[in-house]
Amino acid sequence: MSDVPAGTDRLAALPPLGPGACARRREEPLTQSDLAAYASASGDLNPIHLDDAAARAAGLPGVVVMGMLPAGLLGRLAADWLGLEQLEHFSVRFRRPIWPGEPLDLEARVEELDEESVELALALEVDGEVRIDGRASGRVGSRSGASEGRSL
């Protein structure tokens, strides 16, 4: 396994893209340093995500995760599974706040699949409660890797 580049183990763990197939990924809880890194990379410098005092002043119990950070984790799961080049649409709805320290269970499920396109239902849950849901769709292409093992 020493010749396998870092990170591909997670790609390899995704199941073939078939009818009803489901891909799951558990992410370690987000830490305040994860939030700081995302703030810097995205430009989302709203202090309710970075400073406990500012969050409390806004009526929150403490810093709240910016929704686009876990949404981005869902986006990566969808892109890893469908293939980034094949991805045509990705959308999320923010249903409940996410707090630092919560374990994140990501799920993508094939809802529709034909010769030309695939549609996924996406969900991000904390202890079984959906905090973000969404959809992703794309072309069913022949790019190597992304659709390998696909069964129709």
Partner: protein, 138 residues
């Protein structure tokens, strides 16, 4: 703020700017999303970094009360893959405004759409639904 006032601004361009999909921006964004260190993929949500680096904040430009605004949903449509090194011309506009009654009063919604063009080609379109929760305006 009245709904009619907001609806009269539907179609208004709120911001225009140029955004480089630079290797360093993509690398920082990917790392923040826990992508493998050797990944050169542009994460699907990367275009959000374009919007958030701007001084023009759509919900403020629309007169929303920042303390009561929430991000309800976000979508991205890709007509072409986003390539590292691309320089994109971004145009942000108010697409639609509407209201609904919620449990805590009137909810005011704005759908803000952004177009990303590489030259003449429309490569992506994103949409954010922003909601101002009920309560007295400050």
């Amino acid at each position: 703020m009245e709904l009619e006032e907001l609806q009269s601004r539907e179609g208004e361009v709120l911001d225009r700017f140029r955004f480089e999909v630079s290797p360093s921006r993509v690398a920082a964004f990917s790392a923040a999303l826990r992508a493998p260190g050797d990944s050169t993929d542009v994460p699907p949500t990367f275009l959000q970094a374009a919007a958030l680096n701007r001084s023009v904040v759509p919900h403020l430009a629309l007169g929303f009360d920042a303390a009561r605004v929430r991000h309800a949903d976000q979508s991205f449509r890709f007509f072409e893959p986003i390539r590292v090194g691309s320089v994109l011309d971004v145009s942000v506009r108010l697409e639609k405004a509407f209201e609904r009654e919620g449990g805590s009063g009137r909810l005011l919604f704005a759908i803000v759409e952004s177009d990303y063009r590489d030259g003449e080609a429309l490569v992506a379109r994103s949409a954010a639904t922003l909601v101002q929760l009920g309560g007295e305006a400050r």
